[in-house]
Symmetry: C2
Subunit: 468 residues, 2 copies
């Protein structure tokens, strides 16, 4: 059989590009760095949105929408923020046929404009916490774009909250980190992310602390899958977000922000994909079971349609393919590429014996199953394969993480995976040295795996890796 994709071992970046094109997930847009998300890719993003949105709402945040265009002067109010984002801005200079008096920037993120409105809406301590989220597009001009991972425009959710105390802000930033991001990524995406604190060097521009979820991809590199920030009083001071306390004093609020994006699609592909295409964990899969008519024959179409309906009635998200004028082999390759967790193949020969064939994408197994048992077998396979994909990714992370004690060994280990090294053996100077060799500190952890409050805590472990 002709190979469909460049094998991962041969050229991982090319495999990634091939997969995105052949599985029809996305295309490059006409303006450099932009992307077109095709229906097969967007359907996964919609499932991500639904799962994340439910968790964000359960954490008490409400959705809103703030403008795409931000006055240039807003960004300048927080010094680190403008320094961090200036090189990436897209600037609108003309509107309605005229040059604008003040140029406006296309939002790279919305701390500034949301800060301005928080200041209007917050009056008393009773108005706090103010918990907002928006689903939106943002623009950060990219010189080295790669679909889903780094694009000039991407889709994301960005949460923005204001609190009365530093402790409340910290607790909420961490609640989102664990209850929304980690829970979703591990439990639904099947990606066993490591959750930790970013170093000062890797912090979000304008934050006092940045927490991160880091996933290990199929080639051993790290991908930052989502971040949650404590912004201290930086934006509250820049935008005058104040409240009157119960004691009638006027205080600045403490704010947070947190985001995850279409970059998670890249993480999904690079975590679970194999040389035959995508493998989508059942909980996030838009199509969980794909019923295929192998070839036309007596009662075959009807039997397939009946199975489709029975699966749907059992709550399974079902695809259906009875395009028997297209060769079955081509359709099967396409189903592999798109990564449907389970295929139910219905053909004349098996059906004559009362069977359909259950094909599991995760391990490639093909099992004849009596037609009457298909629903139960599919449900069991979906449950098992969700766990199998997670466990496979966890095994990779564990087997490709090396425990070392020196910076030099950590940099060496990062050639093929992750290094765990005492932070005291790295420090700011060691971090700069590692960066010079293409290796970054992904995050800091306590010895027990929990998330530290600051990088100054004793006995922290640093994870060093190459990354996307």
């Amino acid at each position: 059989m002709a190979r469909v994709l460049t094998p991962r071992a041969e050229d991982f970046p090319r495999w990634y590009q091939d997969l995105i094109a052949k599985a029809q997930l996305a295309d490059n847009g006409p303006v450099r760095g932009t992307m077109v998300i095709r229906p097969a890719g967007y359907a996964i993003w919609e499932r991500m949105q639904a799962e994340m949105d439910a968790r964000i709402k359960a954490a008490g945040a409400e959705n809103a929408y703030f403008p795409l265009f931000i006055p240039e002067n807003y960004l300048k109010r927080e010094a680190e923020h403008v320094e961090g984002f200036s090189p990436e801005l897209a600037v609108v200079t003309h509107g309605g046929g005229k040059q604008l008096a003040e140029p406006v920037v296309v939002r790279p993120t919305s701390e500034t404009v949301i800060g301005e409105f928080m200041a209007k809406w917050v009056d008393s301590y009773r108005d706090l916490p103010l918990l907002l989220n928006q689903w939106a597009n943002v623009v950060r001009w990219e010189l080295r774009p790669r679909i889903f991972l780094r694009t000039s425009e991407f889709l994301w959710q960005e949460g923005h909250t204001a609190h009365a105390t530093a402790a409340d802000a910290r607790a909420y930033a961490r609640r989102i980190l664990h209850e929304v991001y980690e829970d979703f990524m591990v439990g639904v995406l099947g990606i066993p992310v490591v959750v930790g604190l970013k170093t000062a060097r890797e912090r979000f521009a304008g934050a006092t602390a940045t927490y991160t979820c880091e996933g290990m991809m199929g080639d051993g590199k790290a991908l930052q899958m989502g971040t949650s920030h404590e912004l201290g009083q930086n934006f509250a001071k820049a935008f005058d977000i104040t409240y009157t306390s119960a004691e009638r004093t006027v205080e600045h609020a403490w704010t947070t922000s947190w985001g995850t994006s279409t970059r998670m699609l890249g993480g999904l592909i690079m975590s679970h994909g194999d040389d035959n295409g995508l493998r989508v964990p059942p909980r996030i899969a838009p199509i969980q079971a794909h019923v295929m008519v192998v070839k036309a024959g007596d009662g075959v179409g009807e039997a397939a349609a009946k199975l489709r309906d029975a699966l749907r009635d059992a709550g399974v998200r079902v695809g259906f393919d009875d395009r028997t004028d297209t060769p079955f082999g081509r359709r099967a390759v396409d189903a592999e590429l798109k990564g449907y967790p389970v295929r139910v193949e219905v053909g004349p020969r098996d059906l004559a014996a009362g069977n359909a064939v259950l094909v599991r994408r995760t391990d490639g197994s093909k099992t004849p199953v009596p037609v009457t048992d298909v629903v139960g077998a599919v449900l069991a396979a979906l449950e098992a394969d969700q766990k199998a994909l997670h466990d496979e990714a966890l095994h990779r992370r564990e087997s490709r993480t090396t425990e070392v004690t020196t910076l030099a060994d950590a940099i060496a280990a990062a050639a093929t995976g992750w290094a765990r090294v005492p932070w005291s053996a790295v420090g700011a100077a060691g971090e700069a040295e590692a960066n010079g060799q293409g290796v970054t500190v992904r995050c800091l952890l306590r010895a027990d795996g929990s998330v530290p409050d600051t990088e100054d805590e004793p006995d922290l472990v640093a994870i060093l890796a190459r990354s996307y």
Copy 2:
């Protein structure tokens, strides 16, 4: 009681602005013409999206996402299209700190960029119809902005489809018009829109036919709530969307596009709002029943919480307000403003008699109901009020529509409502004359109320009105 809003009869536009501010639906953004959609407004938009999205998917279209930025040259390829949109474009001239070689426009609509990709994806007649939709923001620079109705940036869905024949394209544009737009607006928003054909003068820039849903607002003006377009082969020729037919000839496709936006929020407000605030039809209401603790007292909070849970278990979307440290009157005014269909007020006195008070927003009625009957009474009220709001809007449309026979009478009638006049008494010259007096032809209908194919059919009726 101090009045909360400017009464509609005194100043309808001011009432509209007051309501949006006081009900906390939206704010003006910092860049002229942009808006901030606040959680109370956005929650309604999310319900609109969910209802529409289900209908769009039922009509076979798949969601995708195309870039915000479009090369300037794309817009120039379809002559009418560029002429229509040029005055409204926002142009990005700088990106990543550099002047761009070719300026890019922020999408005002996406026929061009989607046309470019349809051309890549369509090969054979088997690839047709290609049915796409996207939920996105678009920018059209507005000189006279008004929140939700005309804003420089708005949120919408835009559908784009390609077909093998003109007949198939027409059938699909009309299917969306009726099965998605009309069904949603009438059945869920409770707005009895009139569905008809736009005149050549009012057609979308680049279309061969534009169909529209027109609603009558509380002041008798018309609001265009959604449009569906046949684009003929205009965009297929400009972007070279061709397919190989079953007979092996190469043919240009026929395309459609169709859109509805956050403008529907303006329509909702102006259709159903009254002098006390918004009235939200139950089917679209994010909160259908709002349980309020009138004041603290023995077992009151517990009884209210029990009712909240019982309503939620019955599938009702429930709000809960036990902020008894805020005066009840203020909370009740706020609930009126926000337009929750039903309030369930639980206070010590009524509760002692075993009752809660059911307050219906639609007619203002207050009825003591035994606590054990609340769920049934709420369900019945929601059902009845959905119909009542629709019927009230229909009654207004009928009573404020005047049947006339001359252009002069039609223009006169449009001072206070809609005029129905034979299209033969208007024509292109009469339409221009009406426009000069601030009156437009909203749409054309057949005598039996059905939607004509062209404005040249005999015996058509024109609806003339002032509009937003």
